[in-house]
């Protein structure tokens, strides 16, 4: 079957639909997933197609959305719980970190928690300080579940299907500004991507850019500009923050000897910090410049567009950072 260009949103819908058709135990629960059709329209039409048993609207109760999904998963179902945006995942933090992540370990493997928490991330939409986080890195701190951060329609589909099929819990973080992005995606219902594999999205010899989601989009733009000046960036899309696959990063770095990490999260204790630390451990003899980090500014995000954009990463900021290391 030929790959068809579809949007990131369509890719997510297709993944959910195919997995629900494949396995009766897979069901959806969350705020506005049913009658409304999904806050981001990912589950539009699902209520008619699958019925209220498998497409379950919940009250505004993040703690029990995640917690009940944990219980249902322990008991043998395969819930896909939706948290409207990752900003509200803070309310469910204990259910995620203390229960979803730990019931397997704590009870010595007696329980399996095959569930997915789908949510959306990202700033830059003038939603103000409480609604503009990209804090997936906070959630990636904890062992016991995986954290997916797909940056293309192709990845969104293959990774979501993998997440639903896997027996481990997965926090599946979608980017709210990338839902319209299109790329060719296989129709094959058994198209599934491996868990915990990063992906080289652009080849280059001069600098390694490590990134995901919004950072990926900006880095690809920056790379085209840099290429005009003869600087060839290699771009590695992490795709998963857990398991974090840095082997391709080390390999690339040993060739380029320079690295810029680009992300939308806040600048302290973030992905850049982790990647920089691991590069200096693994590639110390190959380092020609300090690892450079591009992230959001260390402030809450404001409403006004002018200053909101100022606080976020941009292709220009990436270009500047690359030029500082090459």
């Amino acid at each position: 079957m030929a790959d068809r260009p579809i949007t990131y949103r369509e890719a997510l819908s297709a993944a959910l639909r195919e997995e629900m058709q494949r396995d009766e135990r897979v069901f959806i629960m969350g705020e506005e997933v049913g009658v409304w059709g999904g806050t981001y329209a990912v589950t539009r039409g699902f209520l008619d197609e699958f019925g209220a048993k498998r497409v379950r609207d919940t009250p505004i109760s993040e703690m029990v959305i995640v917690g009940a999904a944990v219980g249902a998963a322990m008991a043998g179902l395969r819930p896909v719980a939706e948290l409207m945006t990752i900003n509200f995942a803070f309310v469910a933090m204990d259910a995620i970190v203390n229960h979803m992540a730990k019931v397997r370990y704590m009870f010595n493997g007696q329980f399996t928690v095959p569930m997915v928490v789908r949510t959306t991330t990202g700033g830059g939409k003038q939603l103000g300080a409480t609604h503009s986080h990209a804090p997936e890195v906070v959630f990636a701190h904890f062992p016991g579940y995986y954290v997916a951060v797909p940056g293309t329609a192709y990845d969104a589909k293959g990774m979501l299907k993998a997440a639903i099929r896997d027996d481990n819990p997965v926090l599946f973080v979608e980017h709210s500004t990338m839902l319209q992005r299109r790329s060719p995606v296989p129709d094959d219902p058994d198209f599934v991507l491996p868990i915990g594999k990063s992906d080289i999205k652009r080849q280059g010899r001069d600098v390694t850019i490590v990134t995901y989601q919004k950072g990926l989009e900006y880095s690809l733009i920056a790379a085209e500009e840099l290429a005009k000046e003869g600087i060839e960036a290699e771009i590695i899309d992490l795709r998963w923050l857990r398991p974090l696959d840095l082997e391709p990063v080390f390999e690339s770095f040993k060739k380029t000897n320079r690295c810029v990490v680009v992300e939308e999260s806040l600048p302290m204790f973030n992905v850049g910090a982790e990647v920089a630390a691991q590069i200096q451990q693994e590639c110390f003899d190959w380092m020609d410049a300090p690892v450079k980090r591009v992230a959001a500014m260390d402030i809450p995000l404001p409403y006004a567009r002018e200053i909101e954009q100022m606080a976020l990463p941009s292709p220009e900021k990436i270009i500047r950072a690359v030029k500082e290391v090459v």
Partner: protein, 327 residues
């Protein structure tokens, strides 16, 4: 509801004494340094745990908070392996990785004790959702402390169970304190079972408000929970409250500045085991010998469990790193 016969009653007596002696031995082992971390004893609450769990079928489910030894033993978990868990041994029910607060036995549908106050209540709703989803007719018994009624989890889980008509018996073990805070200092509703009204409608739909039970009377607990279990099996969620008392501190090393010795003494006299023993001796002539024999057998069971635990191996590095993920 099956009327308990003499053998059943004797078995309940055995369970209650087993829990009491188990807890007393745990306290000693804690003083010896063989048990670490937090140790929350169930002494005083035996009638609630034994009576409530007795109301369940084997295919029903039970889940509770960290004060879980009594529920684990009442559900029939292996005494040796529960004791081994206390001592952090690899033969423990949770391989030594859970400890006193995290006892579970998947095969017995005992879904565990949980250390975060109220954190298990959504899990109970989720297990009940699976029952409903699969068209099964079992129920979930979810026990919690009085203090747990004040955390957001309680509200979210009970409300969801009412909206979805989930087969859950929510049972508050009101032992009158959450650590050092008396119920009336923490809850707008002194009669905690009235919380059910917040999730019920005038037409009778939503959460059913069940009775406040004399939690020191194992027969009363059994009867009330049995009725609640049948209600939940066919109709949906119900909230019950068992009035009981924790005769020991919240956990080991609690100076108990929040209550008087006299208050505790009064409850010791009306303690659940003494009351049940009196009931049995008054009801069945010549039963004292049998009860004494049970007492002696329980002591032996506990001795064996301690020996088993002491002789068990410590967990290994392999155990440390296993079961973080499904491999």
């Amino acid at each position: 509801m099956a009327k308990p016969n003499k053998d059943t009653l004797l078995d309940w007596y055995r369970q209650m004494v087993l829990i009491r002696r188990f807890e007393e031995r745990c306290a000693e082992l804690y003083q010896e340094g063989l048990i670490g971390g937090f140790l929350h004893l169930y002494i005083g609450q035996e009638a609630t745990g034994v009576g409530a769990v007795a109301a369940l079928r084997p295919d029903d489910h039970v889940i509770t908070a960290y004060r879980d030894h009594g529920i684990a033993l009442a559900r029939g978990m292996d005494v040796n392996r529960v004791m081994a868990e206390m001592l952090g041994k690899r033969t423990g029910v949770s391989g030594g990785k859970g400890g006193s607060m995290h006892l579970a036995d998947r095969a017995l549908n005992m879904w565990g004790g949980y250390g975060i106050v109220g954190g298990h209540l959504p899990l109970a709703a989720g297990i009940a959702l699976k029952i409903q989803y699969m068209g099964e007719d079992s129920v979930v018994l979810a026990l919690m402390g009085d203090g747990a009624t004040n955390i957001g989890y309680f509200h979210e889980a009970l409300n969801l169970s009412a909206v979805w008509k989930l087969p859950v018996v929510w049972l508050i073990e009101n032992n009158q304190y959450g650590m050092g805070t008396a119920v009336e200092r923490a809850s707008g509703a002194k009669e905690l079972v009235r919380r059910a009204l917040a999730y019920s409608s005038e037409d009778g739909s939503g959460m059913k408000m069940g009775p406040r039970i004399d939690g020191m009377d194992v027969l009363a607990v059994y009867e009330a929970v049995s009725e609640a279990v049948e209600y939940a099996r066919h109709n949906g969620p119900i909230l019950l409250e068992s009035l009981t008392y924790r005769l020991e501190g919240h956990s080991m090393g609690d100076p108990q500045r929040y209550r008087t010795k006299e208050e505790v003494e009064a409850y010791v006299k009306g303690g659940p085991i003494e009351r049940f023993r009196n009931y049995l001796t008054e009801t069945y002539t010549g039963i004292v010998k049998t009860l004494d024999r049970i007492d002696a057998e329980v002591l032996q069971t506990i001795d064996e469990a301690v020996a088993f635990a002491r002789n068990s191996e410590d967990p290994t590095y392999e155990d440390l790193i296993s079961h973080v993920y499904v491999d």
